[in-house]
């Protein structure tokens, strides 16, 4: 490193020292024990061996074929020189021995999930990965089981049944293990499922608590310690009172997204999914507590605060996106906040101790909401873009939102948040949704298409203190992969046509890219190998909701296929076929 560069870097570090100090209480050990790397979900690695100067020489170190070709959304874990990869259905768990050349398979664990579960997975039969804790790997199977596998031997320790696919539910999310609880949530907002988040005892697999997203307070685990910041959220039994009849029982709100944990406050943070059906005229009322951010105690699941991002959601804006926990100086004082890029294209900065919304500015093009009233917390929607038994056109963002599940990352080095997002709009025709258990309960014909500019995706750098975009890189397809940002000043992400890219975290300049065999929708990770070298790993294998045209072999001539995504992705088959290979890169 030259003299001037080290000076610049030194200045950057000094400037950001407070932020750095707050985040990095977990020392960098070169491992990746959970999908988001750490409890704060920063997906930031302090490894800096690969940096802006040498990333141009990055090469493939080894590859591994999973043998499966549905969407690969998982984050590979690296613990104790072993890499753990979870595949889409049939949800195999591979343990790869990183100490041997070519990382051979140490063992494979097969949970044998029901093949019929593939019939209730809304958005490809993906799995977002596992979590490591105390010598075990924990992950979910599509057919409603959570398993604990011994990380050394690959033997099943316990397998708990969480639900029944005949009610339309499935599980795709990566668990979080906090305070001895394996925290998992169900999917199925498109199938009239009753959503929940549950905490299992990590040692035995017993269900310690289950918090539903709708229903009476005792089901939502709202008790005497519940102190929502806003007045409107304080009445009793809002989980039934804001729904007609018994529709909350089939109302959605699953916990299929990301969970963060603050050990000091002893709170887990997560959001609930969309209410069902998509045709909101069939469910008048605010539909609490769908599209809601919750703070709960990990041990018993009791709710401490909640904030509903999108009351009476009309565009499928699930609240499940990640919550990155950082301490920022806002308005002169240091605040413990969470950064939540919501589906409604607004970046929420929320005080994570109390649930107060500090700001909610758009990070992507949107025309469905006007503003968020910071006094009452209520979002003001645009009536012309409200849906129901009618056809509404030019709704931006489309149902996958400004950003869907694909996780962003935060670099304490630059102080910026890196958001992989979508640029899509949609037309929405509401039709009668008919509830038949185990089948879709949607009630909408949708067609999506590119947003303003014609590109369908973007990766941008966002300044959370000043609430603005610093730089953005346009992508042809939605940026559906996860991101990882390193102390080497690099941001890594993958595109749906198969490129794995490294860009300069400060200015977005493309520094390196490699064309993998299939589109990338997985979460890249970085780790230190047994030889002390830094490696990058990412799964290549297109699919997910955005890639269903390829992974499901859909007929894009029907634009409403894949809940409208087919219309926006009809050209994807020209750019990629199915795949399922893990790529690992290193410096020569």
């Amino acid at each position: 490193m030259s003299f001037s560069k080290s000076r610049i870097l030194g200045c950057v570090f000094v400037f950001c020292a407070p932020a750095l100090a707050q985040i990095q209480n977990q020392a960098e050990d070169g491992q990746w024990p959970m999908a988001a790397k750490n409890f704060a979900s920063t997906r930031f690695s302090a490894l800096d061996q690969i940096n802006a100067a040498n990333v141009g020489t990055l090469k493939v170190a080894w590859t591994f074929s999973t043998g499966l070709t549905r969407g690969q959304e998982a984050a590979p874990l690296v613990v104790n020189n072993t890499m753990y990869v979870v595949t889409p259905w049939p949800n195999l768990l591979y343990a790869l021995d990183l100490t041997q050349p070519g990382a051979p398979v140490k063992w494979t664990y097969s949970p044998h999930p029901s093949a019929s579960a593939q019939g209730v997975a809304c958005c490809d039969v993906v799995n977002r990965g596992a979590a490591y804790f105390n010598g075990r790997i924990y992950y979910n199977t599509l057919d409603m089981h959570t398993v604990a596998v011994d990380a050394v031997t690959g033997k099943e320790v316990w397998k708990t049944t969480l639900g029944d696919i005949n009610s339309g539910e499935s599980m795709t999310m990566a668990p979080l293990v906090a305070k001895g609880r394996v925290i998992v949530g169900n999917s199925g907002g498109e199938l009239g499922v009753r959503g929940w988040l549950a905490g299992l005892d990590a040692a035995t697999g017993a269900i310690a608590w289950r918090a539903y997203a709708a229903g009476p307070d005792k089901d939502v685990l709202i008790g005497p310690n519940f102190k929502p910041f806003y007045q409107a959220d304080r009445a009793e039994d809002l989980g039934t009172k804001t729904w007609p009849g018994e529709s909350w029982k089939i109302g959605g709100g699953g916990g299929w997204g990301w969970i963060s944990y603050d050990p000091d406050l002893d709170l887990i943070y997560y959001g609930t999914a969309n209410p069902g059906p998509w045709n909101s005229e069939q469910r008048p009322g605010d539909n609490k507590w769908t599209c809601t951010l919750f703070a709960r105690r990990p041990e018993n699941g009791e709710a401490i605060w909640a904030y509903q991002l999108n009351p009476h959601d009309e565009q499928d804006y699930d609240g499940v996106n990640e919550n990155i926990l950082v301490d920022l100086t806002i308005g002169g004082r240091l605040r413990k906040v969470l950064l939540h890029p919501d589906r409604n294209a607004r970046m929420y900065v929320i005080d994570r101790a109390t649930g107060e919304v500090l700001s909610a500015e758009p990070f992507a093009h949107q025309n469905t909401t006007e503003s968020v009233d910071l006094k009452t917390g209520r979002i003001k929607t645009v009536p012309a873009k409200g849906t129901g038994f009618k056809t509404v056109r030019d709704i931006c963002p489309a149902a996958p939102g400004g950003k869907d599940w694909q996780p962003s990352s935060f670099s304490p080095q630059t102080g910026l948040m890196y958001i992989p997002h979508n640029n899509l709009c949609m037309e929405f025709e509401g039709v009668q949704a008919n509830y038949i258990a185990g089948t879709p309960y949607v009630g909408a014909n949708v067609r999506m298409y590119p947003g303003p500019g014609g590109h369908r995706g973007e990766v941008s750098a966002w300044d959370p203190v000043n609430a603005k975009t610093i730089w953005t890189a346009k992508e042809m397809f939605p940026a559906w992969s996860g991101t990882v940002v390193t102390a080497g000043g690099l941001l890594f992400y993958g595109t749906m046509d198969g490129w794995f890219k490294a860009v300069d975290a400060r200015n977005g300049r493309l520094l390196w890219q490699f064309k993998t065999g299939s589109g990338i929708i997985g979460q890249p990770v970085t780790y230190k190998g047994p030889d002390g070298k830094q490696y990058m790993a990412v799964l290549s294998g297109v699919g997910g909701w955005a890639g269903a045209v390829v992974s499901g072999g859909l007929n894009a001539k029907d634009g409403t296929a894949a809940l409208g995504f087919a219309n926006a992705m009809a050209d994807l088959p020209k750019y990629t076929t199915k795949g399922g290979t893990l790529y690992v890169f290193s410096l020569p």
């Binding site: 007609p244 009849g245 008048p284 038994f389 038949i436 258990a437």
Partner: protein
């Protein structure tokens, strides 16, 4: 009280229509009688002129007679025009008075969606938990304006309760509004008034106008989910309902059946008819309906489900318990 009659008004809007109707009948009937009399008159009374004027002169009327005739025809025409204009003004103003203006603030809003061939009824409410979905039979309180927001799921229907108001079309992808008020208690039968397919003739709706207290207690009862089956027979009946095709289209709140393509059955036993007014709601008719829906209402969209002879009685007992 005639249950389905536009000339037996039970509300103020219907009274206005009824008033207009009788006014037209009386006035135009009177005019009709006068015209008939004027036509028949000359046939029976002898015209004086004929006696006095020679024959060769009568086929050409005299100038005086001409003038008299022009005078009289002129007056008659002028009078007719005035009467017709007057009737137009009266008609238009009645129409505007019954459909124009905003209903008072305490109106009860009910959404009516026409389906082939039944009525989906949803009572709206600011409080989402008091929104009620039912079918084919509507209760309303007297003395309170009722706003109807109408639409259709398939083809054009028309909402018509003759005792209470005129017709209002229900058009797919479009909302039409009317409001009315019942001033007398009673049971009024309504009818689809726009040809909508095979069973247009069997698409009737019952509106029960009752005191506000009775209405409130009806609403409270309807909002409750169906009671759990209280004995083994009803439990078996519920099991049969849930195991067959019924759950693909019908809902019974309080069970896992929540489909919305067909009438809500949560309080089926509280309704006086089945099949949208096609048959009285009795055990025998219910059995006939379930065993062969195409018998009483051929072409209707209810599937013919093969039920065994052992399954029908417990199912009927269960359905009868859904009060």
């Amino acid at each position: 009280m005639i249950h389905q009659s536009a000339i037996d008004a039970a509300g103020r809007q219907a009274a206005q229509i009824q008033g207009l109707f009788w006014f037209f009948i009386v006035l135009l009937g009177g005019i009709f009688l006068i015209v008939v009399a004027l036509m028949l008159g000359p046939l029976f009374c002898r015209h004086r002129g004929l006696d006095r004027e020679p024959l060769e002169q009568t086929h050409t009327p005299s100038i005086e007679t001409e003038r008299k005739l022009t005078h009289r025809v002129g007056w008659a025409t002028g009078l007719t025009v005035l009467i017709l204009l007057g009737l137009v003004v009266l008609s238009v103003s009645t129409g505007r008075s019954i459909s124009g203006g905003n209903p008072p603030a305490n109106a009860l809003t009910v959404e009516i969606v026409g389906n082939q061939w039944w009525w989906y009824i949803r009572y709206l409410n600011e409080d989402a938990s008091r929104v009620l979905v039912t079918a084919n039979e509507m209760h309303i309180p007297i003395g309170r304006p009722i706003v109807i927001r109408g639409s259709s799921h398939d083809v054009i229907h028309s909402f018509w309760i003759p005792n209470l108001h005129g017709k209002r079309d229900l058009i797919p992808s479009h909302t039409t509004t009317e409001w009315f008020q019942a001033d007398h208690e009673g049971r009024y039968r309504g009818q689809c008034a726009e040809f909508c397919g095979l069973q247009h003739a069997h698409m009737a709706l019952w509106v029960v106008a009752e005191t506000p207290a009775q209405f409130d207690s009806w609403m409270d009862l309807q909002l409750r989910p169906a009671p759990a089956p209280s004995d083994a027979v009803k439990q078996k009946g519920q099991r049969i309902f849930l195991d067959h095709a019924c759950v693909l289209c019908h809902a019974i709140r309080g069970t896992t059946a929540a489909a919305e393509q067909a009438p809500d059955l949560t309080h089926l036993a509280s309704r006086s008819t089945i099949g949208a007014g096609t048959l009285p709601n009795t055990r025998g008719n219910l059995a006939d309906w379930i065993a062969d829906p195409q018998n009483s209402k051929p072409g209707n969209h209810m599937a013919t489900v093969a039920l065994s002879r052992e399954d029908m009685p417990p199912l009927l007992t269960y359905l009868e318990s859904l009060k």
